[in-house]
């Protein structure tokens, strides 16, 4: 399946991301308007983001999860990061807690 990459943007002072509501807002503002449902959408965190709490990830998947179910939500949107540590944290979070 084709991929659609969505590069996320944050303030320079934001090196850590936490909070369900913020995750929800980032999804609504930076991802949802650009989703293509016939592709695998990959939202990419910039290099400046070093750590991401699971509450933030949960917030990002909230709307998709409620509408399509958790398994389908992960198929529609994947998360990736340019920062190696953040990338590991995303995998760990989704593996441990799901969405």
């Amino acid at each position: 399946m084709n991929e659609k990459v969505i590069d996320l943007k944050f303030d320079k002072l934001d090196t850590n991301l936490a909070g369900n509501r913020l995750g929800n807002d980032v999804f609504a503002e930076q991802i949802e308007p650009y989703l293509e449902y016939n592709k695998v959408n990959i939202a990419v965190f910039p290099e400046t983001i070093e750590d991401i709490a699971s509450s933030f990830i949960e917030g990002m998947y909230k709307k998709l999860g409620e509408k399509y179910g958790k398994s389908k939500a992960i198929q529609i949107m994947l998360l990736d990061a340019k920062n190696k540590e953040a990338k590991e944290k995303i995998s760990e979070s989704i593996e441990t807690f799901g969405v």
Binding site: D11, L13, D14, T15, N16, L17, A18, G19, N20, R21, L22, D25, D51, A53, S54, S55, F56, E58, Y61, K62, G65, E66, G69, K70, A73, T96, F97, G98, V99
Partner: protein
């Protein structure tokens, strides 16, 4: 508020506070400054209202519930504070996440501002041991009419959720636990415990997702700390987190008992308690004790 808005005199009593690994942070508190005469009541109010305060071994912040970015900044700043003490990088990350998750919960579910206090103890030794230990003592406090467990209770009791395996399970567990309720273990306690369960959320619009934050708290507490002394007080209800009662049972619930069966057995007596004083909100008190790397 009592002093500033209602012009009341407030007297503070502390009965038999023993200085130990859990309580040493009191010396950095504004209350201690006032009791020892360093500041007066008006100065107490003035300093208390400052949103941020960082001292050599203590970190304090007040977060407004509608400031969504504040939780991320809190996570970043707690890590920065902890890095000054030789705390392992992964532990700094875990602690900052625990604090930010609890603060996020408070701001979102209780719809109130949140007070955070983190202090690092001096080094202590256990009797008969050469190992050194220190404690990271955390308080996350909010004052609100919405207590921990209330929103989950409302959801379950009035069936305000889409049917899912997890919510069916909690409803079944509630019916089972009704047989255990008495003067000590109440319905309120049950719904506090339910709030900690994976995939159970107090958010009205969520039935298929959510319910991670408090579960993560419990799991993170278990990792890499040598010992811990943690409890939550909400209203009059107290839940103590005891290691032998936090195992996940066969149905994926945190058991809260030594039988390792959340649904069919009541929570262990030692984790349930009651406070004569109604907190008027929810307060987490976590003491995470680490062995110092040599």
């Amino acid at each position: 508020m009592l002093v500033k808005s209602y012009k009341k005199k407030v007297y503070f009593f502390a009965n038999k506070v023993v200085r130990n690994i859990n309580t040493c942070g009191l010396k950095d508190s504004l209350l201690y400054d006032m009791l020892s005469g360093k500041i007066d009541c008006e100065e107490y109010v003035q300093y208390f209202e400052k949103a941020n305060r960082v001292r050599s071994s203590s970190f304090r912040r007040i977060i407004k519930h509608d400031d969504k970015r504040a939780i991320s900044h809190l996570m970043r700043d707690i890590k920065t504070f902890l890095k000054r003490w030789e705390i392992e990088k992964d532990d700094c990350s875990r602690i900052s996440k625990i604090v930010s998750e609890l603060a996020d919960n408070a701001c979102e579910h209780a719809e109130s501002e949140c007070f955070i206090d983190v202090d690092i103890s001096n080094i202590y030794k256990k009797e008969g041991e050469d190992n050194e230990y220190y404690s990271v003592n955390i308080c996350v406090l909010n004052f609100s009419d919405i207590l921990l467990g209330e929103q989950v209770k409302k959801k379950i009791v009035s069936n305000q959720f889409q049917m899912s395996e997890r919510y069916e399970g909690i409803t079944y567990a509630y019916d089972s636990h009704k047989n255990f309720f008495d003067n000590r273990y109440t319905k309120d306690h049950f719904f506090i415990l339910a709030s900690f369960q994976d995939e159970i959320s107090g958010r009205c619009e969520e039935s298929n997702t959510g319910g991670r934050g408090l579960t993560e708290l419990v799991r993170e507490i278990e990792k890499c700390v040598d010992e811990y002394d943690c409890y939550v007080l909400t209203g009059n209800s107290v839940i103590f987190f005891h290691p032998d009662c936090l195992e996940i049972d066969n149905d994926g619930w945190i058991s809260f008992n030594v039988e390792k069966d959340f649904t069919n057995h009541q929570p262990d007596g030692k984790i349930i308690s009651y406070s004569d004083t109604d907190l008027g909100g929810t307060g987490y008190n976590l003491s995470l004790i680490y062995k110092r790397s040599l």
